[in-house]
């Protein structure tokens, strides 16, 4: 079955998976990346602070 026929027979699935599903996935990935970046940055700052304290 071609995509054209499938999307016309299942418009809501097409909309949910294609647009809302992809958009939500993008938002989840963005949040995960931002949280990861904060975790890494905090680790670097702590290392720098500890290195400064040892001197």
């Amino acid at each position: 079955m071609s995509l054209d026929i499938w999307m016309r027979e299942n418009p809501l699935t097409y909309i949910w998976l294609g647009s809302y599903g992809v958009a939500m996935l993008i938002f989840v990935v963005e949040i995960a990346m931002v949280r990861h970046k904060r975790k890494i940055t905090l680790q670097q700052v702590r290392l720098l602070r500890n290195a400064g304290g040892d001197e």
């Binding site: 016309r8 909309i15 949280r35």
Partner: protein, 245 residues
Amino acid sequence: MAINWFKYSAPTTFYGLAGKLIPWFAFSAAILTVVGLYIGFYVAPTDAQQGEFYRIIFIHVPASILSMFLYLIMAGYAALGLIFKTRLSSMMATAIAPTGALFAFISLWTGALWGKPMWGAWWMWDARLTSELILLFLYLGFIALHASIDDPRRADRAAALLAIVGSVNVPIIYFSVKWWNTLHQGSTIKFSGTSMHVAMQQAMFTMLVACWLYAIAVVLMRVRSIILERERNTTWISELPEVKL
């Protein structure tokens, strides 16, 4: 009691304020997304011409609006950083760019998904679509240019110029459907009113607010990391409770 708003233009005070605001924006965004999708899929009626396919509008229009507004806000912050040398302005511009790029991508992606059943094509070199694609490239250019320069201050200045020059594209996107004969439809909601069903308007407006709140939350989260990174050698950073752990 008057609030000294300029106090929050310093990374020192803004860092704490942003940390307090993020949960509120994120929670409100999640609630409004659920409400907006409920109205959009269960309350709003089926469109007489487009059937169910029109329901893409509830993510497509907010994403498109956000992509344009975020660019203008990014360019505004970049200009403030360039003119007044305010550190936080440049950090905000850097934090907004990835979110703006993602909204531009979502706008193009959902537009393609809408275009296929309506126009019979995923993509057309239409003025509205092409100018939105240029907006995505401007965001990517801003991010790439900023990342390619090691000195953050020099990177801020170079990327700010690109952001300011690129802002001319935003009115081109908005007016493209008026200036040229485009396949893309004109504005559905105008200052003079709209012919949209009230439930459709409610769903679209709710999703628009949800997207705004999400964008603010994620930008604040990102700017806090940027502040940490750039101010890492300062005393106030080393005295933060999360750093002392």
